[in-house]
Symmetry: C2
Subunit: 162 residues, 2 copies
């Protein structure tokens, strides 16, 4: 595979640029979110998104959210504090472990998440018109499977590291 | 669409979580790259990747790469300097505009990009086995189309902002 001239080929549909494809798709979604996803009042930081969109109906612990959103627990505590100050979430320490706490959405938080999901669904509608329903569903399924593959891979690597 | 109970549903295959799907897919690819993509010597920073994997065979200007990889030009200059110090790229100022310069891969840089692409193709083989060739090709095509959609959207917004 040591063919230097191949380094010149740069097409989105070139499968070896999967990394670029995912990187750029994420960047564009960041730009879109920054322009479209915000509470009625004020600005949302991009760092809030992975946290707030992972809080489930019956709450979630910081340990669970750290695993789900792949954020280090230390990095989370500042975001949690800021989202609490904005009145979008609450956090309560768990009795059994003082370093653990449970996060719930407030009513404002639920409204924000629902409004955002509605806007996201509007974007998805545009995607579907563009690429076709069947193709979009396949893409969601493929990305889900790839994520589960990496989750498994990381568990194995983490085990080997211990 | 104001149904708070919907905020509780969190499944990867739930289309409204497209944002999470792309975010997590990117995070996993970061982890994989961090573990697998590095030159023979030493460590690669994640911030190097979008730059070095966008340098084309006949070189690329900082303006082009900034557009392609969605990195601010200011943020790029430090990365360019570090990659030059590692001997993976060279940069030459363009005569017509002193703020512009052209980036080329060195032979070591080309080798690194080719080795990395080979590793990436190995990962893609695993993906293909997992999800099916047809489904993977559709996913690459859908992501390409979505990226082009956002590129167009941003051009329109930028025009409106001016």
């Amino acid at each position: 595979m040591d063919e230097p001239k191949k380094a010149g080929i740069l097409q989105y549909d070139d499968e070896k640029h999967w990394g670029r494809l995912i990187y750029i798709a994420k960047k564009h979604l960041d730009i879109w979110s920054h322009r479209n996803i915000r509470p009625d009042y004020g600005q949302m930081k991009l760092s809030y998104m992975p946290l707030i969109f992972n809080v489930q109906q019956n709450g979630i612990t910081n340990t669970e959210i750290s695993k789900k959103a792949l954020i280090a627990k230390q990095a989370m505590s500042r975001t949690v504090k800021e989202l609490e100050e904005k009145g979008l979430i609450t956090s309560q320490p768990l009795k059994k472990d003082k370093r653990s706490y449970k996060i719930h959405l407030t009513d404002d938080g639920k409204k924000f998440v629902n409004d955002s999901n509605t806007k996201m669904l509007g974007l998805i509608d545009e995607y579907r018109k563009l690429v076709g329903d069947k193709e979009f569903d396949i893409t969601v399924d493929v990305l889900s499977k790839i994520i589960r593959y990496h989750e498994k891979l990381n568990m194995e690597t983490d085990d080997a590291d211990e």
